[in-house]
Amino acid sequence: MTQRRLRERLLAGIWYDNPGLVQLLGLCPLLAVTTTLVNGLGLGIATLLVLTLSNGLVSASRRWIRDEIRIPIYVLIIASLVTCVELIFKAWFPGLDRSLGIFIPLIVTNCAIVARAEVFAARNSVPASIIDGLSMGAGFALLLMVIGAFREFAGQASILTGFDLLTGNDAFTGLSFADHGLLLLILPPGAFFSLALAVAAKNAYDRNRRRARNTGTTRSLRRSG
């Protein structure tokens, strides 16, 4: 893969084809766990791991998989990987595992993962599929972190609470700025509002850039003509 295509792949997952912002996949965990930055980071890492490994495995076995049974096989592979990731979390990050609760096992049902297996990994080489998994997973994880940080800061007036769940010691347990935030943002409706704001912000940014580029080209055309 050339450097340019690698760059394109990476940017696709993180920005142009972001699973959460553009494809709007995997919204159930996205909306449910993003009450804090640490939760978002935890689920983001778990999803990134599963997505990368499942893309790799699906791609590696794509020559033997007949079309009729591809979906059960994807589900089997994804479910096994999720179980492994869950066990690893339980063994090394028990606090984070408790804080994410049912949403780690529920990664199995994250349609972003099956979608990448079907759309990308089943048709591309193993390295390309792994890079696609990394990029899509990173895009999803970053979105979870941004929304988590926003909801935590605006809703609870704190940031990085529960950081001790990641490190396992109490040296740093997050910063708190006030007693109360805007309660609504912590409650489920706040998740929808936050996601809507994120999608709107992305679209506005893209449109502005496109417009800037278009006027740029017209100007240069005019100059040359």
């Binding site: 007949r66 009729e68 096989i73 492994c84 339980k90 063994a91 090394w92």
Partner: protein, 212 residues
């Protein structure tokens, strides 16, 4: 390729992949099982500890677990758990895990430590879904509301005054939430009453064998 061979091939592929996946999960489980069991036990001991402030006791409280299936006379309609706490052979306290069913948003799981004389050693809320910013102040991580029960008993205050101030009782309420504290206080009071009536039975019963 005939239909039959196609089906056989698909079946074989599925079987092989299922085998590989099972091996993967089994290996991971094998590598993590001990750590997970140790984590669970440490977590349990650690979560019980705050309810046993100022009590001298021997470790591994978790082995004296007693599970009572409903109806058991304690608050809640799900199983209640009692941990017997000893210092040497001497029973010194009991820990109750009971459920208050009349909270604002679903059941509230409460951990209550009572010493042998019926005095509260500590209270912690284990599980709840009360409103963030209001009812969730019963959680020791959010406020020190639960601390007011430490070293209280059925004589201090008398049973009739185990209520929030607003209802003519002795205990602080929470701003914007009275249903939640009411439910918690009632569950604590009822557990103390139960302990007073069944003290001997509790320490005489053999430990429950089954795993949580």
């Amino acid at each position: 390729m005939s239909n039959k061979t196609a089906i056989l091939r698909s079946g074989a592929t599925l079987a092989v992949i299922a085998g590989v996946c099972t091996a993967l999960v089994a290996t991971t489980w094998h590598l993590t099982a001990d750590r997970i069991a140790a984590n669970d036990k440490a977590l349990l001991e650690q979560s019980l500890q705050p309810a046993l402030a100022n009590t001298f006791y021997d470790g591994s409280v978790s082995e004296s677990r007693l599970v009572l299936e409903p109806p058991h006379g304690l608050p809640g309609s799900d199983a209640a758990i009692i941990y017997r706490v000893y210092s040497g052979e001497q029973p010194v306290a009991a820990l109750f895990v009971v459920t208050a069913r009349d909270g604002f948003a679903g059941p509230i799981r409460i951990l209550l430590g009572v010493d042998i004389d019926g005095v509260v050693t500590g209270v912690r809320i284990l599980q709840h879904r009360e409103t963030p910013g209001f009812g969730d102040k019963i959680d020791a991580r959010k406020s020190n509301w639960v601390e007011q029960f430490a070293s209280r008993s059925l004589q201090d205050p008398p049973v009739a005054r185990w209520k929030i101030h607003g209802d003519g009782g002795e205990f602080d309420q929470l701003t914007g939430a009275s249903v939640t504290p009411r439910a918690v206080i009632k569950a604590i009071r009822d557990t103390l009453v139960y302990f007073e009536a069944h003290r001997e039975d509790i320490f005489a019963a053999p430990a429950s064998k089954d795993e949580p």
